[in-house]
C-alpha cells in the first residue's frame, strides 16, 4: 500500500474553513465515535462511511472527499444529526460537501446525457441528487 501524503497547507485549510462556513459546524468537534455511520441506512451504499468522510475533512484530504459518493448517497434523513453525541449537524456537513462540489463544478452531470438504461436503473434519490448537480 502506498503512503497517502498528508499536508496542512493553505489549500487544505481553505477547504476545511469553507466546509465549516457552509455547514455552520465545527468539523473538529467530531471525535470519530462512528454513531452516524452506524445509524445511516445508506452506509452500505457509500464508498466511505459518513464518519470516515468527516475524518478526511478533518485531515484536509479534499480530493478524496470530493471523489467520494458518500455525500451524494446521503438522503438528509437527519438520523445522524439527531443522534450525534457531539451535537454536530452531520446532515448539514453532507449538504455542505454537496454545495462545495457544485460551487467547484466538480463532477457536473448533464441529465440529458444519461443513457436511458442508466435512468431506468437509477433510484429516485440519485436522480434528485443529479438534478441538484445540474442546477448548481
Amino acid at each position: 500500500m502506498s503512503y497517502e501524503y498528508l499536508k496542512f497547507g493553505k489549500e487544505e485549510k481553505d477547504f476545511i474553513a469553507k466546509i465549516e462556513e457552509i455547514s455552520g459546524q465545527n468539523i473538529y468537534s467530531c471525535y470519530q465515535c462512528g454513531k452516524c455511520s452506524a445509524g445511516c441506512v445508506f452506509s452500505d451504499k457509500m464508498d466511505r462511511t459518513v464518519s470516515q468522510l468527516i475524518h478526511l475533512i478533518q485531515i484536509g484530504q479534499k480530493e478524496k472527499v470530493l471523489k467520494s459518493n458518500t455525500h451524494w448517497v446521503c438522503s438528509s434523513c437527519l438520523t445522524c444529526s439527531v443522534r450525534c453525541p457531539r451535537d454536530i449537524d452531520v446532515a448539514a456537513l453532507m449538504e455542505a460537501v454537496r454545495e462545495y462540489c457544485l460551487r467547484e463544478d466538480y463532477e457536473k452531470i448533464i441529465i440529458s446525457e444519461i443513457s436511458k438504461e442508466a435512468l431506468d436503473k437509477l433510484p429516485n434519490i440519485a436522480l434528485v441528487s443529479n438534478f441538484r448537480k445540474k442546477t448548481g
Binding site: 503512503y3 501524503y5 498528508l6 471525535y31 475524518h55 478533518q58 485531515i59
Partner: protein
Amino acid sequence: MKIGVYVCECGSNIASTVDVEDLVEQAKEFPYVEVSRVYKYVCSDPGQVLIKQDIEEKQLDRIVVAACSPRMHEPTFRAVLEDMGLNPYVLEIVNIREQVSWVHDDKSKGTAKAASLLKGAVLRASLMHPLERKKVGVTHNALVIGGGIAGIQASLDLADMGFDTTLVEKSATIGGKMSQLDKTFPTLDCSQCILSPKMVDVNRHPNIDLLALSEVVEVDGYVGNFKVKIKKNPSYVLADKCTLCDDCVPVCPVIEHDEYNQGFSPRRAIYIPYPQAVPASYLIDPNSCLGIDPLICSKCKDVCGPEAIDFDMKPEIIEKEVGAIIVATGYEPYPIENIGEYGYGTIPDVISGLDFERIVSASGPTDGTIRRPSDGKIPKTVVFVHCAGSRDPSKHLPYCSKVCCMYATKHALQYKHLVHDGTAINFFIDIRTAGKDYEEFYQRAAEEDQVIYIRGKVSEVFQDGDKILVKGADTLTGETVELHADLVVLATGLMPSAGTKEIASLLNLSVGMNGFIREAHPKLKPVDTAISGVFVAGTATGPKDIPDAVSSASGAASRAAGILAQDELEIEGTVAQVDEDLCRGCGLCAEACPYSAIEINAINKYGHALRVAFVNEALCKGCGSCAAACLNGAINQLGYTDSQILALIGALGEE
C-alpha cells in the same frame, strides 16, 4: 471442651452448591461438638447474637464458622469471642464459599468436600490454645523518602498533624519532576506557581527536617520503631553562609549540561538547580569540578565574599528513629532511545515529553518561545506520538502510562496557543482522558484549537533534509499516511525510578512485574505495603497524575498517622515460637523469613554459648515459612502448630 459449629448459607452463595442442612447434621457427630447450626448470614448482627447466646447458655469454649474466606470476617467473629470473654484465637474459620461453593457445580461432591474441611477444622479447633497479643511502644516521628510532590504533600500533612518528619531527597532540591513541568492539565495553571508555595512551606515548617542531597542507606527495626541511617552527601557550599549572590558562577571555568533544562542549556560546576530551589543554596558538582581533589582550581572560593565554599566537606551519616516510613520515590521517563525507529538521540528534532516541557516553559532554555533544537527555528508542523514506550509488551512497557494522552494533548494545545498558524497532529492508539474535566480538555483541544487527532501508531521517522518524515497509519480510513514535520514530540511513558528500585530492595518491599512497589491491596489498601509501618505515595506504585499523586500522599500520611498517634501497638498473637532446646542455630529459618524477623543470637545455656534463633515478634507476620524450613521441628507457628495441622490433614485424608 465444647465446640460450637455455625454454617453460613451466605444467601444462595453457599447454599446453592452445599447442602447446608446435611452439613450441620454431620457436624453434630464430630468430636466435642456441643451445638451445630445453620444461618442465612452468620456475619449479620442476628447471626453474631446467635453465637453469643450459645456461648453464654452452652458454655462453649471453641467456635468454628463455616463461611467465606477468613480475610473477610475473621475480625468480625474474633470480636464476638472477645465480647463474650473468650480468647479471640480459639476461633476457626472454614472457607466453604471461595474454596467450595464458588468453584464446584456438583452439590453432593461440594457437600462432601465441605464436610471433610469442617471436620478438619473441628479437630484443629480442639487443639487450639488461647494466644496473647503483645504490645510494643511507638516513636512518634516519621520519615518520608523522596521530595517530589508526593513526598512534599505527605511531609506537610504529617508535620501539620504535629509529627516530627524527616524528608530525605537524593538531589539538591525538592520539587521532583513536577518542578520541570511548564503547565499542568486540565487547568493549564503554571506548575511552579502551585508547587513552589508548598516547597517554601516545607522549608519553614518547624516540624520538618529537610535533608537534601541525602540517601537512606540502612533501615532496621519494625513498625513503630525503625532505626534509619541517612547519608548526607556534601554540597561543598555552606548553606548558612551562602548569600545566593551568584558571584561564584561566572568565574567557574567548567561548563556542563543543565539537568533541570534537560541538557538544553549550560550550567557551571558550581550552580543552583533553579531559582526557586529548596533548600536555596548553591552546590558544587563533584564529578565536573576541577577544584575538589586535587585542588587545581579554586576560582569560586577566591571570589566568595562570605567564605561559604568548603572543599573539605565530607559525607556524613545521620541516624534517626522513626515510627513510620512513607516511600515517595517516584518515576522516571522511559529511555525512549530504546525505540530505535523513533530516532530519539539521533535525530535532534525528535524530543521527549519532558524535553518539550522545558522548551515551552518561560523559564526554559528558549524563554518560552517554541524553538526546535537543531536550528532554533519555530516549528510549523509538530507531530505528537502517543504511547512512546507504553502499551508495548513485546519490547518496552506493557502498561498504559496513564498521563501521556493528557500531557500530549496539553502540549499540542500549548503549541497552538504559541504558534497560531502551526499544525499540531497527534497520533494515538486510544485517547484515555479518565479524570475530572479531562475529557472536556481533550474536546477543547480539538474543537477550539484544531488539534488534529489521527488514530494509528507512527511506525518510523526519518530525517529528510531539514524536515522529519513521519510514517504512520490512519486506522479510521484504513490508509497508511506520511507527512513532513518540523518537530516530533514523543509522549514518553513512565517507569519506576532507580530510587524506587533501590528503596524497595532496601526495605524488602515486594514489587510487581514492572518494578513498581506492590500495594498491600490494590483497591482497599492502596497506600499500605506488605511491611507494617511502611507506606507508599505517588508514582512509586505506578503512573499517576498530580491530583492522584497528591491524594495518595495525603492518604499515606493519614495511614502513617494512625500508627504514629498511638502510644503502643498490638501485635498479632499468631507468631513463630522457637524451642531453644531443639534449635541448633543453623539459620535456615532466618534465610526463609521474608520479613527479616529472625536473628541467630548466642545465648548462655547449660554453661555453654549456644546459637539459637530469636524471633522478633513485632516483625513476624505469622507466615510459617520458618516453621516449614526448620529441620529440627524447633519452630512452632502459634495458632498453626504441627499437631493442629496434622489433625486437619488427618480429617481431609479420611474417606
